[in-house]
């Protein structure tokens, strides 16, 4: 809060942007097909004659890298908001059933309407298909989060509320499982592939939707920083500070479900980034002020997601690992590191 903290926080944000820039470049350079850096530059400035490379870069690597930035950032900001709203360091998109809700929404699209709307058919629909996935998954997230929140009016204990969130998430997922059991194998395959999480499935049209949605939700998230700061003290203090708590809850739920719902709809449920990154941002910035934490979480989330994507591609080999496995592999040590370093985990 003092002048010095502002200065270091600002420096940290600049460093993060540099890191993202470097990782972004690396992410585009690395992949199963080897393209020399000079050629990548030529492709980017439109000086290349190699159509295959052009396709690889513009249709695969560039959208994927941008998706990584949007997805990582969005999940991290959602996690930060969840941890503040529920005043619980263990809250996050995947813990409170938001991801499960998005899964339900996506399952409705994938499993619900016959073979014709498998993910490939959705691509045929173009931008309308993207919006459909976005709306379904966001509605699913908002539905489950709203349900958890309604229960939260009757539950005062945050730990219990978190448990209830996990239970609601489990119920949602088992409903989806039962549904899966009665579905056609082809539909299941699409759905199961989706659940593994992937940054590859986002084409240009989907990217447009994701970009618009995430950036608007992010603007909203930064705009409600003061509200989030007040909520850090708990709802009773927030009320005595003149905050309309019910309204604040609705706004935060809305922005969280849009952030996680859209990302989950397009990339599948990606775990751990939402839980771990806010702690990393807090540990480095040493502040509780959301005016700093929101941008810092977004940038840290984006950088970590790019890193995860680079690792998932296993540069030099032809195979790719599921992104979900990598985020857990990177995310869990981060949480453990924060616990060891600070001796505790605070929201």
């Amino acid at each position: 809060m003092s002048q010095k903290t502002n200065y270091t926080s600002f420096l940290f944000l600049i460093l993060l942007m540099l890191a993202i820039f470097t990782l972004f470049a690396a992410d585009i350079m690395l992949g199963s097909v080897k393209i020399p850096p000079r050629e990548i530059w030529n492709v980017l400035i439109g000086n290349s004659s190699n159509v295959a490379w052009e396709n690889i870069i513009f249709k695969i690597r560039l959208p994927k890298a941008i998706t990584a930035i949007l997805a990582g950032g969005a999940l991290a900001v959602c996690g930060l908001q969840m941890q503040t709203l529920f005043r619980n360091p263990l809250a996050g998109p995947s813990v409170l059933g938001i991801t499960a809700g998005a899964s339900l929404g996506v399952a409705i699209v994938f499993l619900g309407s016959g073979l014709s709307t498998s993910i490939y058919a959705l691509r045929e629909l173009g931008i309308n298909g993207s919006w459909l996935v976005f709306i379904a998954s966001t509605a699913g997230s908002a539905f489950v989060l709203g349900l958890v929140l309604m229960l939260s009016f009757r539950i005062n204990d945050n730990v219990i509320l978190l448990l209830v969130g996990i239970m609601v998430g489990n119920i949602t997922l088992s409903l989806v499982s039962i549904w899966q059991y009665y579905s056609h194998p082809d539909q299941i395959q699409d759905y199961v592939l989706w659940t593994m999480g992937s940054l590859n499935g986002v084409d240009r049209n989907a990217l447009k939707v994701l970009g618009i949605v995430v950036i608007s939700a992010l603007v909203l998230s930064v705009g409600i920083s003061k509200m989030l700061n007040i909520l850090l003290l708990g709802e009773n203090y927030a009320r005595s500070l003149g905050l309309n708590v019910r309204y604040a809850r609705i706004i935060i739920i809305l922005s969280s479900s849009i952030l996680t719902g859209s990302v989950t709809g397009f990339c599948g449920p990606i775990g751990f980034v939402g839980l771990a990154v806010p702690h990393l941002a807090r540990a480095i910035l040493k502040t509780a002020d959301h005016r700093w934490l929101t941008p810092a979480s977004f940038l840290t989330g984006a950088a970590i997601m790019l890193l995860c994507d680079i690792i998932a591609q296993m540069p030099g080999t032809a195979s790719t690992l599921p992104i979900n496995a990598i985020t857990a592999l990177i995310g869990s040590p981060v949480v453990i590191w924060v616990i060891l370093k600070r001796g505790n985990l605070k929201f």
């Binding site: 809060m1 360091p89 003290l233 203090y237 005595s240 003149g242 509780a288 605070k346």
Partner: protein, 334 residues
Amino acid sequence: MLSTKNLRIGYSTKKRSHDILGGPFDLQLQRGQLVCLLGPNGAGKTTLLKTLTGMLRPISGDVYLEGESVFNITAGRLSRTVSMVLTDRQYPGNMTVYGLVALGRSPYTGWWGNLSKEDERVIRQSMEDAGIGHKASKFIDRISDGERQKAVIARALAQDTHIVILDEPTAHLDLPNRTEVMLTLKKLASDKNKAIILSTHDLDLALQTADILWLFDAKGYLFTGVPEDLVLNGSLAKAFPLHHSFFDLQSGSFRLTQSGNKARVRLLASGLQSIWIEKALIRKGYKLTGSEDCTFIIQCKPDENQYEIIHMIQKKTLIAGTIGELLKIMESLE
């Protein structure tokens, strides 16, 4: 300033059935006063405070703030008139004392929460008034309970309200910190002309600092008045019906009722020594007597700083240097 009319407090559990904790109350709160709310656990102290601040609806009656019902005042305006310190003791990490106190300014800042020069001045002043200015840059989860309580009080002060309501601000604190917090609040009430209400279990301290006592009994009746009046008219004894202790009108404090079944002792001493030996003997269960019909006679020699113990039956005389030794000798003689 703040007043209530026919206020009945409690929780409405289901339709038509209420858990009435107390009332009807007609209370008055004036500026410059420190009011201590006392009462046994579960009497409804927190409920009353929550109702006074408009956080909880009363069963019936109303709370008025300068003639206007608190339930009609917008949250924003209320937050500039009444500030609170709650019993909530869960604090976020990575928040400095300054950051916490700064949140008290949020009713006055814009949507982005930017602090003006005036805001910063108020924050500094509040920290100084609460006696936590020296810890401004420390994290609130890394300071002691007493310091944290002062930080929370500073946050309420930064809200710059006429009324400050505190729910058990001295709980979990040691005696020096309790005293300091109470004296700080008393000073704020009179210096800054604020009306301060606090609930506490600390009767001794409340009797010495409060301008007005609000005294809950277990049946939901509230005695109000100046502490000394409540002591003399017996309200205090009524509010705290006790089995194992009694309110000593002489000393103005509670004392345990000791049922002594040990030997009778005649104490020949004076001054401070006499008071403290008496306390020790009562604690150990000896009966004090003024007559010759006793088992022990204890004689103090103030100049030599030693105690002479005479066992009347065994006809023995022993000398002790401290009260501890004295008690040991008496035990061995019995």
